[in-house]
């Protein structure tokens, strides 16, 4: 429906007003204090896009009389984009230093740079109790939308100094200081790795899916064949659904495997921290947003731990009297997890629906390729199990003494601990010494869960600073 000219004029005026409001708000947010440069760049980009869209609206407005249907549609698409940009500002607004686990921000950026040097991540809290990531490169999404509106040189001006490969990772706001649970951030980073795998693979499975779907659809309607267009519609729906189930399954499983290879037992235990609160055998369909059953995910994650040689080895010799207890408790936890995943009730949930089964058969066939991809692309960058466990074991006594586990060695001969070792030491301490949930909250002589989390965050920060300082000293010597 076209609008009378006066209503159209008024609508365009409102749209331009929204652009100006987004510009002003982005300028205000960009002047906040952030723990890294990314949120400011993001807010400034949104401001520049809003300004550009305001000018495009002004230019489009006079064309309405000549071609009302198309120009009205163009204005509505631009308006929707502006409204989206306004909403996206919340990401930058939430990324201020005070709302983040700021001790972890820079060490996390370093960790990401090791695996995905061309990606930038902006961390922000969300009120929903979940970790999440926007897999799409936000800069590319915005750029694609603008491409059909403005000239290339203008596009380059808008995106000047904005990094490529920009993603937003969200964590549950109320868990800001829960360093142990933040190991789940490795899973979110894993989504970017999963995306790279999915983009790189051949989509031959689609052709196979199509054959199987046509066969099944015709079998179902054998007595009363569907008219060709109806049949085509049915095939599209089923093909789309099967591809989505497969994609969602692989996304989660690859992310889990990556997290376990990158962080070791800490990732698996943090994953369990989320899984424990949810049903383990939900069918991956619309009602569960196509997530693979938790039992399936834990089975693959545990397998990745074992395949990666990440089962806890014998601890190093130490004066600390509980070293053997740490190894025993960790192995007990993994044995109990093995018992959970040996139950096959999740496989029955998958087999209930033939389309889900079809997708998961393809997932199973793809998993060797996934493992090969991870080994080939990231193998040398994953921490070596020997070093990871040696460091993590040696850091636990510091936690026992209420000291941040940020460094190894003694006296002047110290070196910063790796982030992965710090996080694992924290989990080792928790699994060994904080089994009683009441004690975890009580605060006894030894660090309880609350103190453990704070010591871990502080250790991540101190190790990062110490690492940077050593780099600076080394550079100064040259």
């Amino acid at each position: 429906m076209e609008l009378p000219q006066e209503f159209f004029d008024s609508y365009v005026g409102d749209c331009i007003g929204r652009c100006r409001a987004v510009e002003e708000r982005s300028a205000a947010i960009a002047s906040s204090e952030f723990p890294s440069a990314n949120p400011r760049k993001f807010a400034q980009l949104i401001g520049r896009i809003a300004g550009t869209l305001a000018r495009e609206l002004e230019k489009s407005h006079p064309r309405y009389a000549g071609d009302p249907s198309n120009v009205l549609n163009i204005i509505r698409f631009i308006d929707d984009f502006v409204q989206e940009l306004g909403a996206d500002l919340r990401y930058a607004e939430g990324a201020v230093t005070a709302k983040l686990p700021w001790s972890l921000t820079r060490p996390l950026e370093d960790l990401i740079a090791r695996y995905l040097p061309m990606r930038k991540v902006m961390l922000r809290p969300q009120w929903k109790h979940n970790y999440s990531i926007i897999i799409d490169d936000l800069g590319r999404l915005y750029r694609d939308e603008l491409r059909n509106l403005i000239a290339q040189h203008e596009l380059s001006r808008v995106f000047a100094d904005f990094p490529e490969g920009f993603h937003i990772v969200s964590f549950p706001s109320i868990e800001r200081k829960n360093a142990l649970l933040h190991c789940d951030l490795a899973h979110e980073i894993g989504h970017l790795v999963a995306e790279l795998f999915l983009e790189s693979e051949k989509a031959d499975y689609l052709i196979d899916f199509r054959e199987r779907i046509v066969q099944q659809t015709r079998e179902e309607s054998r007595d009363k064949p569907l008219p060709p267009l109806w049949e085509q519609q049915e095939i599209i729906d089923r093909l789309d659904r099967a591809a989505l189930i497969r994609r969602r399954g692989l996304e989660e499983l690859i992310s889990d495997i990556f997290a376990v290879r990158a962080l070791g037992p800490a990732a698996l235990l943090a994953l369990l921290g989320i899984a424990a609160g949810q049903s383990p055998d939900l069918t991956p369909d619309e009602k569960s947003a196509f997530y693979p059953p938790w039992r399936t995910r834990l089975r693959f994650a545990l397998q990745a731990l074992e395949d990666g040689g990440l089962r806890p080895p014998k601890p190093p010799d130490s004066k600390f009297p509980f070293m053997a207890d740490i190894q025993r408790e960790l192995n007990n936890a993994l044995t109990r997890l093995r018992e959970i995943v040996d139950v096959e009730s999740d496989r029955r949930s998958i087999d209930e629906d033939w389309l889900v089964r079809l997708a998961y058969e393809s997932i199973s066939a793809t998993m060797p390729g996934v493992r090969g991809f991870l080994d080939r692309e990231y193998g040398p960058r994953f921490p070596s199990p020997d070093s990871l466990f040696d460091q993590a074991y040696r850091l636990v006594p510091r936690l026992w003494d209420g000291v941040p586990p940020n460094e190894l060695g003694e006296g002047s001969d110290t070196r910063p601990a790796a982030l992965e070792s710090i996080l694992n030491a924290a989990w080792f301490y928790r699994v060994t010494f904080l089994k009683d949930p009441v004690a975890q909250a009580a605060g006894a002589v030894r660090p309880d869960l609350r103190v453990l989390n704070r010591l871990t965050l502080k250790a991540a920060e101190l190790a990062y600073i110490q690492g940077r300082y050593r780099e600076w000293v080394e550079a100064a010597k040259k």
Binding site: R63, G66, D67, S69, N70, V71, N73, I74, R76, F77, I78, D80, E84, K128, N130, Y131, S132, I133, I134, I135, D136, L141, D144, E145, R147, N148, L149, A151, S170, D184, H187, E188, H191, K202, A203, D204, L206, I207, R210, E211, V214, P227, P228, L229, Q232, Q233, I235, I236, L239, D240, A243, L244, E251, E252, S255, I274, E286, K287, S288, A289
Partner: protein
């Protein structure tokens, strides 16, 4: 209808803007009696690329064989094709026994001819109107999709009985 993801919303707007601009450009060519200018040719070329995506999806669904040197189908092509099929249905441009791929290829061919034309004699005006109407209808359908999403977002919520999983604008645990 499940909620649109962020990339789906972006794709909807991107396709929609492109379709509107292609149709507007074709209308301008017909009104002014001037063949497309260089910047307009680029836009029409983008329109052809969009049609190519639809055709890939259509061929996949129709069971066409893909040669090794061809653009292989991606899952996104299925979604893109769905938009094209709805548009053709709205315009009643595809019969019950007709192959959609054939119809889409005809539209792409007509658009390519207009893009390459250096004088109005080379443009079949009736076909140009037909191509423009396809893109206008496509843009309007995409606009409707966005409007529906907005209505869903704005619908009153009850504080209890919230059993539906959240929108998948991003990947969560």
């Amino acid at each position: 209808m499940s909620p649109m993801t962020l990339s789906e919303k972006t794709a909807t707007r991107t396709y929609g803007l492109l379709a509107s601009r292609v149709s507007e450009t074709l209308g301008s060519v017909l009104r002014t009696g001037q063949p497309p200018r260089p910047e307009e040719r680029e836009l029409l070329s983008n329109g052809e690329s969009l049609l190519e995506q639809f055709i890939v999806g259509s061929r996949l669904v129709e069971g066409d064989k893909f040669r090794k040197d061809e653009l292989a189908p991606r899952p996104d092509a299925i979604k893109a094709f769905r938009h094209a099929l709805f548009t053709l249905q709205v315009l009643q441009r595809v019969g019950a026994d007709e192959k959609v791929t054939t119809t889409l290829r005809e539209i792409r061919k007509a658009l390519a001819e207009i893009r390459q034309a250096h004088s109005m004699d080379q443009i079949d005006q009736e076909r140009a109107v037909s191509v423009a109407s396809f893109f206008t209808a496509l843009a309007s359908l995409l606009c409707d999709d966005l409007a529906r999403t907005k209505l869903e977002d704005g619908a009153p919520q009850r504080s209890t009985n919230s059993v539906t999983p959240g929108g998948t604008t991003s990947r969560v645990f």
